[in-house]
Symmetry: D2
Subunit: 344 residues, 4 copies
């Protein structure tokens, strides 16, 4: 049996990994680390996991990470880069769910993340873990950079249009709305229910870390520079991202537009293109690894609108990480990930 470890399991990505791995028949969860909670039973910390997870949190140093086959890093940004070299040298395959290895250009990374990169020599090797774009490279990767939540929704919504070279790449806009779990399980006043509840706001309009990540992926898709105006919003829900994507195309029919998406994602187990005229809601993917997409062309004009929804903690984090693990291990890509969304 394949042994799996998790670094930093007390956040939302951690508890979501635990939920998914608890029902995964192909791997064995061997350990989960937490500096702050070492010695605490996981099921005491997350009572929802009583009866499902029997482990205690352990100290990272002594946990036995290097004896795992695969390690997920579910820590804040800047932690995985401290472990990566040692784990890879020990033959462990690493999936970083934070952002340490997402940006290829070290200077861009350091600008947006405000710290010095600890192992820039791995940036070239790391594979951006969006299976729908990079499945072949993920298969053999030692180090996978799991995509950000917003980038997952936006890139999956835009890639077919760019691959089809049918839109103006100068006017791409992604207006994205996220639930508050995207901000993580950390004590910030702005994310209190009394602050973020029953209200809505844009944030980081002058610039957000996910913009360079989106642009890097789309530039690779397109083979030329792609710029996207990206505006994130904080909304009063727990899970879910809804990206409303605006692109302009000339002479595209509604049928052709629909066809581009259906054809592109026909064989993808976790991207669902809805029939024409539909509007996906975020709850339709709650708790599942699906990215659900609908495309519109109001009045048959030049303006295309792509609606792309994911659960930020599943396809936007832990679920996609398990999907990547499945690919890396040669397992069925959907193993452990075929749970229907929770609705209502």
């Amino acid at each position: 049996m394949t042994d799996v470890g998790i670094i930093g399991g007390t956040g939302y990505t951690g508890v979501e990994l635990l939920r998914i791995l608890a029902g995964h028949p192909g791997v064995r969860l061997k350990l989960i680390t937490s500096r702050g909670e070492a010695g605490t039973a996981v099921a005491d910390f997350f009572p929802s996991l009583r009866g499902f997870i029997d482990l205690e949190f352990s100290e990272p140093a002594s946990a036995g990470l290097i004896d795992c086959d695969v390690v997920f890093s579910a820590t804040p940004n800047g932690v995985a880069m401290e472990y990566a070299r040692e784990l890879l040298d020990a033959g462990v395959r690493l999936i970083d769910i934070a952002a340490d290895f997402r940006i290829k250009d070290r200077q861009v990374w350091e600008h947006w993340y405000g710290m010095e990169h600890q192992c820039p020599e791995l940036l070239a090797e790391s594979v951006y873990g969006l299976p729908e774009l990079n499945r072949a490279h993920i298969r053999t990767a030692r180090l996978v950079a799991n995509p950000g939540c917003y980038p997952t929704a936006v890139i999956l919504g835009l890639a077919p249009l760019l691959e089809a070279r049918c839109v103006d790449t100068g006017t791409l806009i992604a207006d994205a709305k996220s639930g508050v779990s995207g901000a993580g399980r950390s004590a910030k006043i702005g994310n209190l229910l009394a602050e973020a509840g029953d209200s809505l706001k844009a944030y980081a309009v002058p610039g957000h870390r996910h913009t360079p990540e989106i642009q890097q992926a789309l530039t690779e898709v397109m083979g030329e520079d792609v710029a996207v105006t990206f505006v994130p919003h904080l909304t009063p829900m727990i899970r879910g991202i809804h990206a409303t994507i605006y692109a302009r195309a000339v002479g595209l029919s509604a049928e052709k537009l629909q066809g581009i998406f259906e054809k592109r994602y026909h064989a993808e187990p976790f991207v669902d293109v809805m029939p024409p005229g539909r509007h996906p809601d975020t709850r339709s993917v709650r708790g599942s690894n699906v990215c659900r997409i609908a495309v519109h062309q109001p009045g048959g004009g030049d303006q295309l609108i792509v609606l792309s929804v994911i659960d930020n903690l599943v396809k936007g984090a832990a679920g996609q990480a398990v999907q990547n693990m499945n690919i890396m291990l040669g397992l069925d890509e959907t193993m452990g990930l075929q749970m229907p969304p929770l609705l209502p």
Copy 2:
């Protein structure tokens, strides 16, 4: 393979049954009926089930219900009693998730439900489907009355105390708080987000249909009349019931109290007694079939407080129905029901 049918699948109990049965390895979902949506693909009606359920809703009359081995009735009150006789005569086993067969006394039922009972001759035969009390009878039942959501939380919280004969049965109080999905998927102004959101109220304080159901079950446990003051509240959440139960006991130690519950539910797969001092939150059972309980005795006094939480749509409806089905079919009782709660 066992064939299963669902009558009336467009409500919340219906979609929750579909979610659970989609992953149940022991039965085959053969049909689902809806008068209003006959001919509509289930996955068009509930996009969350795209890729999971391939059926269309069918007309009840022609659906082939009598060819099923087990039928769930997920309709409003008053419908199952019209089908029950015909189905049982055809050898179909019926699990009614509505209230038609919960109350043994026909007059009491007709008083609270405001209609004439269509097949009172089945009331005596029907088994109240709370496995923790009635497992043996459920096993052989032809007709199971699946408990109400509030009664499930309240009865599981009170039964151990009554069985242990350690509380005053004259002062039992159950103050229960429910999410709005308990009111069903029907268009009522009072359940609009703009009405029920960010607000809380008690309702039906003069009397609620679930009071006689609770009292009947507890009276059977106790072997003598038990009266419970039951006050339900509507709270601004989607799923979840939290019952705060007050009982008085003289001379009970905290250890003994805890022991009564732990011993009573030790072997139960779906009742979790927390360690002393804990407070279960409803999200800790969201999407799961677990009833999670904690017991308190503030200051070591006579007042006992039991906190009992369930997901009203799972242990309070569809999940418990599948648990009953598993028992009736001789399957592992937990089959298809071992999904961890969705948190956050």
Copy 3:
């Protein structure tokens, strides 16, 4: 004292009018009609108004509407046009908070609202009641068409840019997010807390009634045809609209952009332009008549982003209606409208 009447007071616009008028020192609320609730005390129907409103709902036919000085129509679309002629002939001034008189082109109106207009002869006379654009005409109007909620937020966010003729009018996008009270106090499944809670979706992407309203107003501002791509979203909050507006400009500095808005709205009592770099949240205007705006130009590029928030029931409906009434009556424009937002 000026006598005021309300037609159709059982919806959200009605109760919000009542809340505002209860504290308005310049007018007397004389009557409020409701076909369905005639004879019911307003304070029985809306317990929040106990102690504030002493009226009963009355039958529209016998209520004495023609004896009022000003009448608000807070009904669904299609009702005000049945009363308008009679009221105006009696010398009553009418403020329609629904959409009957917003669109000047009868055919456009009939296309979007799906009914025949009952008094098209008044369309030319009616004044679009956005004080920031039409104050002078409102002052003398007999018939004011109170703007829609989305149009209020979008037009106020775009008008300064169009007046300054500094943006490309071919690429205007308004991505708008609304709380569910915008859908009115009517029993629709899609607006239940269990449906719309903890979820988010776009709707009416192929076309929404507010698009022609927005375009008509902006075309008048600009003196030439203006087209806007408008995408509304339903969000899990009660009140509030957040419009995120995208426009392109060449050679505009951040300082100039900020200056355009500050100068334009300097004297406006109900439009607040925030300092550079801010992000308004909808709760910052909850319960108040303010439209709060911030402008951004990420990276100093061509893409301008305007963030515009209102309370859809106040500046987007009842508050703006009272503002219009104040103007029409020659009262201080802010009378009865100077309540601070409710936060948190």
Copy 4:
């Protein structure tokens, strides 16, 4: 004009005081202190107050507190007791909205609040600021201890029954449900929207600080020891407390019960007793200083149920503080407090 100061204005009680005082015609808000935000404009910190409050936060030491006529302390527990002596000596009247002066018994206070009291000599003098019980003493008080939010709802719901000496004081239960703003504007993980949203839990069942406060007040009402079982719950809403109160009485008719409450609160401007059979919802008092009460006696039995709702930030904190101030200053008790609730 009377000069008013606020100590510690960056929390929810602070911003609510500011909202109320902004529209209060009888006093002048002279200063507001904050150690952490000294020098920041209040309207920058709370954008909802742009245009309403022109002050900056100032350092407590140099703010000029002793030149005020009345000072509100809106700080965490343990701060007001450091200032109280100095302010009183300077002739300033102090209203502490925290808990420093609520409990008369120093040892009880120190037990529950976990710190040494800094000026126990003022405990005897301080007046518990519940106007419905202590109006005469408040009028002349130098030091008012503003009641806690839960105690306000519970005491107002129980006092008439105790005064009428018609209930068994041995079995009083208050099951209370609060919105999260009651926990204050401080960064705690448990109050994040992603934690407290869409969920409900009891907390502090073994013992809560408000229990001795409730018992002290009711004991004073009764003239003998009164014990109350008090269980608070955290609910997913922003504002509002709903107390469901259980008491037992023998031989009381429903009419007499209703009469006891109506008579008791007939002249109270901020307590509203609903007609028989009603259920108040918390939103019916949102943003207002009203405590709304309904009483029930299910089946005419011995069990009485009182439903008592308040807005925890208004009648449960800032509004009641202003009500106390009005009484102390000889102003109309309702001055600045007559705003209708915000609904929906």
